[in-house]
């Protein structure tokens, strides 16, 4: 696969009004409720009326039997542009990328990108049991471990192939926990020690408890519009410097060792006119640490297989040499279904607009957000990434 024709740029498109509806471990509300809260919060923050939103992108696992369409009547909206993005951990990046095109083309002026899911006591089991046709036919009947089992395979294979150790993954998890301690919405804010990480309850060897995200309820949202319009509305914004999306990359790999980023990253950096060395912080999709390492490699911060060595070399705190998941990531904040795919993007937009809720990354001008979603069978299929710059870039 190659990219014979580079994608056009995203000039003039910005992200504004990053909002998070504080997460809960469990909720008796529905996904509709959580998404409605995110939209309401977006309107408050942006001082817009519902009627001003003429485009929406919605991501959720638990809207069924509704889709984004039913939600429009549910919430009394009449947009002229609507997208439903069922891409899990890649939803945020993909929503932004498509919304940016809609804004560039004039199909919509202000697009609200929303993601939310609830978490009843037993929701997660149902989500996992019927996640996809391939999962139902060829994965769930095998021990019903859900994503824990799938990522156990990928982690086992990565560790054997590249000499990564549990301590390496642990360092990443502990750093994220430290970042989370300053972030008010994180569900885990207790310090995590390496011993606690290493000795935690086994889940699916080599994965133990602190390698696995905790499902929860929550919602995230942001607006996509032109820089000019954002300025007129008085909204602080982050620029879209470049963004990529790819699905089912490298199907010939017998087991997942890389994602679509490896295919598209050169174009991403070319769009932004920057390189990995210019990036001030990275928000990776971290449902399990091995996939964070894969993103760090595939996005060009180190070579394939050198992720563990990279971890040993760096400090991932907001004041560290390589800030990662500055709000704590899903591993510490929680995974609110499809909103988990928005978490990093919303946090990056906050960091770049001077609105960090936790510890800010000092002088951050360029942030990279990566998305990864949908373990359809044996691997995650959706990948995406976006380079965001502060208003001065």
């Amino acid at each position: 696969m190659s990219n014979p024709t580079p994608r056009a740029g995203y000039d003039g498109v910005v992200v504004a009004a990053p909002v998070t509806v504080p997460y809960l471990r469990h909720s008796i509300r529905s996904a509709h409720w959580w998404i409605a809260r995110a939209l309401a919060e977006l309107l408050v923050r942006s001082r817009l009326r519902k009627e001003d939103i003429d485009g929406l992108a919605v991501s959720s696992f638990l809207l069924f039997p509704d889709t984004a369409v039913g939600l429009m009547q549910h919430l009394g909206l009449s947009p002229r542009w609507l997208d439903h993005i069922p891409m899990g951990g890649a939803s945020g990046v993909v929503a932004l990328r498509r919304a940016a095109r809609a804004v560039q083309a004039g199909d919509a002026n202000i697009v609200a990108c929303l993601a939310g899911d609830t978490n009843h006591v037993d929701s997660f089991r149902h989500t996992v049991a019927s996640f996809s046709q391939f999962a139902r036919d060829a994965v769930y009947p095998y021990g019903s471990g859900g994503p824990n089992a799938s990522f156990a395979f990928l982690t086992d294979h990565y560790m054997r192939s590249h000499g990564a150790r549990r301590e390496d993954f642990g360092k990443l998890c502990i750093a994220q926990r430290r970042n989370a301690m300053a972030f008010p919405h994180a569900l885990f804010r207790k310090p995590l020690t390496l011993d606690e990480y290493l000795d935690a309850r086994p889940i699916a060897e080599p994965l133990r408890l602190f390698d696995c995200v905790m499902p929860c309820a929550g919602a995230e949202g942001f607006l996509v519009l032109t820089a000019e319009r954002a300025r007129r509305l008085g909204l602080p914004y982050a620029r879209v410097l470049g963004t990529i999306e790819r699905h089912n990359a490298f199907p010939e790999d017998p087991i997942q060792v890389r994602g679509g980023w490896a295919l598209d990253r050169d174009e991403l950096y070319a769009q932004g006119g920057v390189g990995p060395e210019d990036v001030d912080f990275v928000q990776v999709y971290d449902d399990y640490p091995v996939i964070s390492v894969m993103q760090i490699e595939d996005l060009g911060f180190c070579a394939k297989g050198e992720g563990a060595e990279f971890i040993r070399r760096h400090d991932f705190g907001t004041d560290g040499s390589f800030p990662v998941n500055t709000s704590g990531g899903q591993l510490s904040v929680g995974q609110a279904g499809a909103a988990g795919g928005f978490l990093g993007l919303v946090e990056a937009a906050r960091q770049l607009t001077g609105q960090a809720l936790g510890a800010p990354v000092a002088d951050a001008r360029i942030g990279l957000v990566s998305g990864f979603g949908m373990i359809n069978y044996d691997r995650g299929l959706c990948s995406g990434a976006v380079l965001l710059g502060d208003a001065g870039t």
Binding site: F134, D137, P141, S144, N148, A152, I255
Partner: protein, 419 residues
């Protein structure tokens, strides 16, 4: 190496019996092709008729060329273990009470990567494995990664035993011990490590050849059982119903007539009385107790075997009423299978060709020796298959029937199989 099973302690009836639950059984329709092959003990995957690509998971189109013709083809299962894990947590009740559970990801030489239940004797990555399909407790095909070469006590693997009906340390009932087939079945079960083999005998005042030698085996005991008599069946159930792990219903009545060679319905009624109503009585009486013991520990109730006939698929006019009674029994056995499904007790239907006994005297060879039939039944229990066509004749009829039931009907009408 798998530790050999030990004889389970005598059951304490005061303690709770674990209730049967099933592993996840939902599948897309296309994925049931895997189950159709596994039901007869084969591992088949879709192979594109146009480009030859082997694919998994099952799809509605060829992943390479989008071709719509995707016949299921038998696989060697040879592959290499890429990664493994042992689950200490599961979302599903069935697995939750059977943790830890070992899984593997295997690259088949045929191409696809498959997730498998991993046998305990498969070594660490990298390891060569042989993937085969098995029916799980829900009766659905799953893939199992076995070590490349057989090792001792393989069948005793804790996970594998959840997918098989191995007679080892189990208690079995053979419903008729007076026939050569019944006696061969009882011996084969003893040889396979069965703890107890109850052998039914109608008309116990009559002697039958071979019974004394059979009952000399310490595992074997005779019980009165007449499938034409509801009370006899109830008395048997009262005595052993809560302990039977495997039922092998071999009792049958067989006369070689069609319609025109005999007047009246006596012979046909006798056939139906045992071959069809006998099964119904037995299933109504023993079925509920077996269903409740579908997850009763290492030696749970596991299997109900029906000795049918390949004539159940298509009528063999020379033995026309017998064929009809077996067709009725086959249909009822499908109902039984559906009703037993929720308990995890497997219904195994055996479709032999002519058995080498007095009622097939005029049929030419090859005929199935009782010992060969018994061996096939034990193999089916060990492999956990649910449809068995033992012997060359049954295999050939099966193939003809698969290819065209109509052509086979004509062949049989024209006298095939009689000379």
């Amino acid at each position: 190496m798998t530790a050999p099973l030990t004889r389970p302690p005598r059951k304490n009836p005061v303690l709770r019996t674990r209730l049967p639950v099933l592993p996840p059984w939902q599948r897309s329709r296309i994925a049931l092709g895997l189950t159709a092959a596994a039901a007869e003990g084969r591992f088949e995957l879709q192979v594109c008729a146009a480009c030859g690509t082997t694919q998994y998971p099952p799809r509605e189109a060829c992943v390479r060329c989008l071709g719509p013709e995707l016949p299921w083809r038998e696989q060697s299962g040879a592959g290499e273990l890429l990664a493994s894990t042992t689950l200490a947590h599961s979302h599903d009740v069935f697995f939750r009470e059977r943790l830890p559970w070992r899984l593997g990801m295997v690259r088949l030489e045929a191409g696809p990567t498959v997730v498998v239940h991993l046998h305990g004797d498969v070594g660490d990555v990298p390891a060569r494995v042989r993937v085969a399909a098995r029916l799980d407790k829900a009766g659905m095909a799953v893939l199992v990664g076995f070590p490349e070469n057989d090792v001792a006590n393989m069948a005793d693997d804790r996970q594998l035993r959840e997918m098989t009906c191995d007679p080892k340390f189990r208690k079995a009932l053979v419903t008729d011990g007076r026939t050569a087939v019944g006696q061969a079945l009882a011996r084969a079960l003893v040889d396979a490590g069965a703890d107890v083999v109850w052998v039914g005998r109608a008309e116990p005042w009559k002697s039958a050849a071979g019974l004394d030698e059979l009952t000399a085996l310490p595992q074997v005991s005779l019980l009165p059982l007449d499938l034409t008599d509801a009370r006899s069946v109830q008395e048997l159930a009262a005595e052993i119903g809560g302990r039977v792990d495997i039922v092998i219903n071999n009792a049958e009545h067989h006369r070689a007539y069609g319609i025109g060679a005999r007047t009246g319905t006596d012979a046909a009624q006798a056939e139906i009385e045992i071959n069809y109503f006998g099964l119904l009585r037995l299933a109504q009486t023993l079925g509920p107790a077996m269903r409740s013991r579908g997850a009763d520990g290492q030696s749970s109730a596991v299997a109900w075997v029906n000795l049918l006939s390949v004539f159940a698929l298509s009528n063999f006019p020379a033995h026309g009423t017998y064929s009809a009674s077996k067709a009725a029994a086959y249909s009822l056995a499908q109902c039984l299978r559906a009703e037993m499904r929720a308990s995890g007790v497997r219904v195994i239907n055996v479709f032999p060709g002519p058995i080498d006994d007095e009622w097939n005297q005029t049929l030419p060879p090859p005929k199935l020796a009782p010992a060969a039939l018994a061996k096939a039944v034990v193999a089916a229990l060990r492999d956990g298959v649910e449809d068995v066509f033992p012997g060359d004749v049954a295999q050939e009829w099966r193939q003809r029937w698969n290819e065209s039931p109509k052509v086979l009907e004509r062949e049989l009408a024209l006298g095939a199989g009689t000379s």
